[in-house]
Structures are given as structure tokens and as C-alpha cells.
């Protein structure tokens, strides 16, 4: 069998590559596991998402009831839905930690620019997964949060209104919005993810793990190479340990804190108090509250969108902004730290502040 396969696929070459693959071993090695953990959560999402697809019905009339059916009637449906919801949130968390760890360790440097860009784009796709998936149970909080979220696009000049109509499938959030969010969530985004993730993983394997500049400098000073460990079994077993911890977290959260379904959305009811997006969008939600109505003669919301777009653009093209000098690296480290503190403070304010 093996011989038969080896004639048809480069089995020996792959095996040799795995045998010879080594991973740098230093005091920051622990951050290498975050990417794998994000991938683990993504795999959980794919599996549980497919299971949910068996019963979920993407229409305004049936969506809520079908999710309720999954949670009450389908054997272990409550667990599958709860794992899907928790895993989505943990995946976003892991992806953010992965992004900042890569950023602080300057792993985006040449020749890993494309690895970085594909990773940032994957984070955006994950956020899009979260935004579209949030609406699918068609509950009250999700309905009004989607209305507020899609409203933001209306502030963009010229194309704003068209964009809102495109996102919603009409002037308002309706069953048409649900259907297109569903389509994007289960078809468009997975297709984009497959391409980006394939590219990302291929490049990670091709270039290997990046060694942080400080470790590289010390190794050069000491005149010794950076220590490494075999990918198999040393790194793989440690990765498996991380995945198992993630699995334990998922199981505990899903069983002890099952994800709530809330009340069915009523488009004609007034928006209830305490409407808020998912936690990973809270910092933008909170920051927008502090933006004045007019900034330099422009609409405040538009200015906020411009600033956020510039920030996102800077993040994507970070490898080309960093000139790879000590001064440039220091500036980026402090800017990233400031951004991180800003996000954490805004999120904390959103949780503790006035719900209105």
C-alpha cells in the first residue's frame, strides 16, 4: 500500500521534510503555539458548523425556531451549538493574541511579508465570520446589533447607501439580510479562508518559524546558533498539548455556561436597552461614542471610518512600513502597545459603562 502511494504522491519527500523540520527553541517559543490553537478552533468551527447546517433554516420565519429545535430536540444539539459559539469567540481571541505576538516578535520581517498579509486578512475574515454568524440565530440582540453595525457603512460618502443596501439586501435588516449573511457565512467566507489559510500554512512551512531579532542578535554575539527542536515529536506533542487544553476549555465553557439564545427578533419592536455587538467589536463601538458629531468640518462617523480604514491598511502593509531598523522597530512596538491598551480600555469601558 505504502509503495503504491509512494509512486503516486511524494510520500517519502514529505516524510523526510517532516523528519528534518526543526523549530527554534527560545524563551518566546510559547507564542508559536497560538497559530496552531487558532487553527484548532477553526477546525472545531468547521465540524460543528457542518453539524448545525443539518438542522438550521436560513429564513426570518424559521431561523430562531430551528436553533431552538437544535438546542432542545436534537441529541447533543445544545452542545454542538454551544461549542460553535464558544469556539468562535475563543478563535477570535486566539487570532488576536497570535497577531499581537507575531507583531511584537517582528515575525513579519522579510521574507515573511506575504505570510503576515495572509494572516491579517485571515483575521479580517474571522471577524466577518463573527459578524455574519451573530445574526443567524435571528434573536433580538443580534438583530438590532446588525442594524447598528450595517448602519455604520452608510457614513461612507458616495457608496455608503449602496453598501448598506448591498449588506442588508434592502433598506432595512430583514429576512433578506439573514439569507445573504448565511450565504456569506457558509460559502463565501469558507472559500476565501481555504485559499488564505492554504497560502498561510504553506508559507509557514516553507519559511519555518521566525526567530525574534533579540534572540538572533544574542546568538550572533555568543557565536552560537539558535537552539532548535525537532518538529516531530517535540513540537508536535507540545502543540497537541495546547490543543487539548483548548478542548478542555471548550468543553467546560459549553457545559457550564451554555450559549444563550435570547428572545426571537421582532423587527417592529423598539430596540431593547443594552444592545451591543460581540465583545471583539466592542472597542470600536465604545470609541465611536467619544467621536464628536463634526471633526474638521467632516461628519464624525466618517472620520472614525477613515481612521479605522487607515489603521487596517497600516496593519496589512506593516512589513513595508517597518524599515527594519532598531528605531523603526521601537516605534512599531510602542504603537502596537498603545493600540492594544486602547482596545483593552475601550472594551473595559463598554463592559462597565452606561449600557445606553
Amino acid at each position: 500500500m505504502r509503495e503504491w502511494l509512494a509512486h503516486r504522491v511524494p510520500l517519502d519527500e514529505v516524510e523526510a521534510a517532516i523528519q528534518h523540520k526543526r523549530v527554534p527553541r527560545h524563551r518566546y517559543s510559547v507564542w508559536y503555539y497560538l497559530g496552531g490553537m487558532t487553527l484548532f478552533f477553526f477546525i472545531v468551527q468547521v465540524v460543528t458548523g457542518i453539524l448545525l447546517l443539518l438542522y438550521y433554516r436560513p429564513s426570518a420565519e424559521e431561523a430562531y425556531d430551528s436553533v431552538q429545535f437544535i438546542m432542545t430536540r436534537v441529541p447533543f444539539g445544545w452542545l454542538v451549538r454551544s461549542i460553535h459559539s464558544w469556539s468562535a469567540n475563543l478563535m477570535v481571541g486566539a487570532a488576536f493574541v497570535h497577531l499581537f505576538s507575531v507583531l511584537f516578535l517582528k515575525a513579519y520581517r522579510r521574507p515573511r511579508e506575504i505570510t503576515w498579509i495572509s494572516g491579517v486578512l485571515l483575521l479580517f475574515v474571522i471577524l466577518a465570520f463573527g459578524f455574519t454568524g451573530y445574526l443567524l440565530p435571528w434573536n433580538e440582540v443580534a438583530f438590532f446589533a446588525t442594524r447598528v453595525g450595517t448602519d455604520m457603512a452608510g457614513a461612507v460618502p458616495v457608496v455608503g447607501e449602496t453598501t448598506v443596501r448591498f449588506l442588508r439586501g434592502g433598506a432595512e435588516v430583514t429576512g433578506a439580510t439573514l439569507t445573504r449573511f448565511y450565504g456569506v457565512h457558509v460559502a463565501v467566507l469558507p472559500a476565501i479562508t481555504t485559499v488564505l489559510l492554504g497560502l498561510h500554512l504553506l508559507l509557514v512551512q516553507y519559511h519555518g518559524m521566525s526567530v525574534p531579532p533579540s534572540i538572533e542578535a544574542r546568538a550572533k554575539t555568543d557565536g552560537r546558533p539558535v537552539p532548535t527542536m525537532p518538529f516531530v515529536p517535540h513540537f508536535a506533542l507540545r502543540d497537541l498539548f495546547g490543543w487539548t487544553v483548548a478542548l478542555a476549555m471548550l468543553a467546560g465553557l459549553s457545559a457550564y455556561l451554555p450559549w444563550e439564545l435570547g428572545h426571537k427578533a421582532d423587527p417592529f419592536a423598539p430596540a431593547p436597552a443594552g444592545i451591543h455587538p460581540e465583545w471583539y467589536f466592542l472597542w470600536t463601538f465604545q470609541a465611536l461614542k467619544y467621536v464628536p458629531g463634526q471633526v474638521l468640518g467632516l461628519e464624525g462617523e466618517l472620520v472614525a471610518i477613515i481612521v479605522m480604514s487607515l489603521g487596517a491598511g497600516a496593519l496589512v502593509f506593516l512589513p513595508f512600513i517597518d524599515r527594519n531598523t532598531p528605531r523603526s522597530r521601537a516605534v512599531i512596538t510602542w504603537a502596537a502597545a498603545a493600540a492594544l491598551v486602547f482596545m483593552v480600555v475601550m472594551t473595559a469601558l463598554a463592559f462597565t459603562g452606561d449600557p445606553s
Partner: protein, 411 residues
């Protein structure tokens, strides 16, 4: 005598004006329906200027009528003579009882108000020349009359009780007619006032709902049930078909009022149904009287259902707090609550059979609700046990991995 005769209508006009101001102020406040209506100040007479100002907003002014239409030509002194109180209703009726006149302005409007007024206590007293009783302008105002459907109107649903109270809370005024001045106070504490004034339910009963508007008269003992039956249809049917109806008729007891009172009608409670203490049934019944068995059985039915509903709610609440979905339990609880409401209606049959059937439905629904809650709690325990096993397995796997990693040769 003439001076005395002028004082009463003068005071009435002033009162109407004060009432108008009070009503308008009341109407301007958005939260005012949550409060009992203020009782208008004593009657007071308006000055010609005040009357002219109020008339600008009057429905009659909009219809093209002027001062002369009611007051006739000016006197030699250059002013209009007030209309005598006994002449007010007949004067209004010249148009309002004439279909050929009224259809020009409002084709659908009724024209029997004066005929009804003549049958009322107010109308009959006024016909005798007793000007202390109400006439058209006391309730509708004399100048500044607006349509009844206008929320500013003193006879709009939310304001009727306050308008009646202007006279009916005045002990001195009510005393000669042997009427209680407490009716407004009693009604204000009733479930009907709550519904109208706090919940804003414009269909809730106020004075004219039971007494009539223009033909206002206290319903007699034999007519009370018909009055209540306007809304409480099923209760009235059950009562009329019950043995109790004949017994009450024989005793000269009023059908509904005997247990529920007339103006101070409070939400009924199952503690009313008992043979002991202050219970309503205990007023006439004790262990020796007929019906004692039914009273005990009905009360036990209510207590049993309430207890089971409380138990089920407790379990459902615990299950929901633990994150379980208990929609079926809530639906069953809804059925139990509905059965409870129907039982409260069926009490008016004063017999066990129809009551017991619905009680069984209610108990079954409460039990089903409880069962859903219990199942949810069992499921929760099952999940927790499952998680404990899964956690142990995962921890075991993690420990194995840890040992394996430690045993790996140095890289």
C-alpha cells in the same frame, strides 16, 4: 330669591371654568393618566371676556354659531343675559334633538340626549325646578365645548370621573339627595380606575359606563347584573344559570354587588372563598349551610393549582438560570395560568362540575410544566456528569502528553 337663584348658576359656571382649566392642565401632562383625576374646584362664573376667549375654541363657533344663538339679543345694557339653568337643556335640545339640524354638522351624531336626560335623576329634578342638579353645561362646559372624542373634553373617558366628582364629592351638595360623597374615592381605588387611569385602557368602566351618560341614574338591584354583564358576559351567564340567582332574588340581594361591591371593586382573591374569618363566602355561609362542601372544594382547587404552579415555576426558574431551554414548560405554565383565569370565571356557577373540569386541565398543565423543569434539571445533571468524565479523560490525556514530552530525548 332672585339673587339667590343667580348665585347657584353663577357658582356653577365658575366651577365649570375651573374644571375646564383643571382638565386642560391635566390633559397637557403626559403622565397624568397614571394619577386619579383631580376633583375640580367649586363652580365659578366666567366673565364675558373669559367666555368670549373660551368660545373661540368651541365646536359651535367652528360650526358658525355665535353668542346670540344661545343668549339671544343683547340686553339694553349692551350685554348678553345668562341662560337660566332650567332652560339650558331645552335650549341645547332645539338643535341636538333635531335630526334635520344635526345632520348638517355630524350626520352620525345621536339626537336622543335630551330625551335620555329627561329620564335621568338630573333631568327629573331639573324639571321640578331644582337647579342644584347637573345640566348640559356642567359636564360639557358652557363656552369652549369640544367634542367628546377630543381628549381635552371633560367627558372624555379619562376625565368623566373627575367631572362627575365636581359635584358628587361635595358632601353638602349630596346630602339633600341622600347620596354618598365617597363614590369617586371608592371608584379611584377600584380595578376599573386602575385599568383606565394607570394602564390607559380607554374601554375600562368609568361613571357613565354603568350609570349612562345623559340618562344617568343608579341602576336598580335587579338591573346591576345587566350592567356588569356588558363586559363580564360569561360570569353573568353562569350566575344567572346558577342556584344562587334565585336565592339572591328571593333575599332581595343585588346580584354582583353582594360580593364585589359597587364602586370600590377590587381584584378578586381566592381568600374570598372560605367559611372562616373575613372571607366573602363566610358572610352568609358556615359549615352547616348548603354549599359549604362546594366552597371548600373550590378553595382547595385554587390552593392546589396555585401551589403546583408555584412549584413548577421554581423548578423552571432554576433550570433557566442554569442555562437550560424550558420553552415547553413555559407553554404548559401559560396553559395552567389560562385555566386559573377560567376557574375564576367558573366560580360564578357556584357549583363543582364545570369548575372541576377546568381545574383538572390546570393541574395537568402545571404538572407538565413541572415535568419539563425536572427533565431539564436531570439533563443538566447528566451534562455535568458527562463533563466530569470528559474532563477526567482530557486531564488524563494531558498528563500522558506531559510525561511523554518530559521523556523526549534532548533536542
Amino acid at each position: 330669591m332672585k339673587r339667590g337663584a343667580l348665585i347657584v348658576p353663577g357658582l356653577l359656571v365658575l366651577g365649570v371654568l375651573a374644571a375646564s382649566i383643571a382638565v386642560r392642565a391635566h390633559a397637557r401632562q403626559p403622565d397624568s393618566p397614571a394619577q386619579p383625576p383631580a376633583v375640580p374646584a367649586p363652580p365659578a362664573r366666567s366673565t364675558p371676556d373669559q367666555a368670549a376667549a373660551a368660545f373661540k375654541d368651541d365646536v359651535h363657533a367652528k360650526a358658525g354659531l355665535g353668542c346670540e344663538s344661545c343668549h339671544g339679543q343683547k340686553t339694553s345694557g349692551g350685554s348678553y343675559a345668562p341662560v337660566a339653568r332650567t332652560a339650558i337643556a331645552p335650549m341645547c335640545a332645539t338643535c341636538h334633538a333635531d335630526a334635520s339640524v344635526m345632520r348638517k354638522f355630524a350626520p352620525q351624531v345621536r339626537i336622543d340626549q335630551y330625551a335620555q336626560y329627561q329620564t335621568s335623576v338630573h333631568g327629573r329634578q331639573m324639571a321640578k325646578g331644582d337647579t342644584r342638579v347637573a345640566t348640559c353645561s356642567d359636564c360639557h362646559h358652557s363656552h369652549g365645548i369640544v367634542q367628546v372624542r377630543d381628549t381635552r373634553s371633560p367627558v372624555a373617558p379619562a376625565h368623566v370621573a373627575g367631572t362627575c366628582a365636581a359635584c358628587h364629592t361635595d358632601a353638602a351638595r349630596m346630602s339633600p339627595f341622600n347620596r354618598s360623597p365617597d363614590v369617586f374615592s371608592d371608584w379611584s381605588k377600584s380595578v376599573h380606575a386602575d385599568a383606565l387611569l394607570k394602564r390607559g385602557d380607554r374601554s375600562a368602566p368609568t361613571c357613565n359606563t354603568c350609570h349612562g351618560s345623559h340618562g344617568a341614574t343608579p341602576p336598580g338591584i335587579d338591573a346591576v347584573a345587566n350592567v356588569c354583564a356588558q363586559c363580564h358576559v360569561r360570569e353573568a351567564e353562569l350566575f344567572k344559570a346558577s342556584k344562587k340567582a334565585a336565592v339572591f332574588a328571593e333575599m332581595g340581594q343585588s346580584d354582583c354587588l353582594t360580593c364585589h361591591s359597587n364602586h370600590h371593586i377590587v381584584a378578586p382573591d381566592q381568600t374570598w372563598i372560605s367559611l372562616e374569618g373575613e372571607a366573602i363566602c363566610a358572610t352568609c355561609h358556615d359549615e352547616t349551610t348548603p354549599g359549604a362542601l362546594v366552597i371548600r372544594s373550590v378553595r382547595k382547587g385554587f390552593d392546589d393549582l396555585q401551589q403546583r404552579m408555584r412549584d413548577a415555576e421554581g423548578v423552571l426558574s432554576r433550570a433557566e438560570t442554569a442555562g437550560m431551554l424550558i420553552e415547553d414548560g413555559k407553554l404548559a405554565m401559560h396553559d395552567a395560568t389560562e385555566a386559573h383565569v377560567r376557574m375564576r370565571v367558573l366560580v360564578h356557577a357556584f357549583a363543582s362540575p364545570p369548575f372541576d373540569e377546568v381545574l383538572e386541565e390546570g393541574l395537568a398543565a402545571a404538572d407538565k410544566s413541572r415535568a419539563v423543569g425536572d427533565d431539564a434539571m436531570d439533563e443538566l445533571q447528566y451534562r455535568r456528569r458527562g463533563l466530569a468524565v470528559a474532563t477526567l479523560l482530557i486531564l488524563g490525556f494531558l498528563a500522558t502528553l506531559f510525561v511523554k514530552i518530559r521523556q523526549l530525548p534532548p533536542s
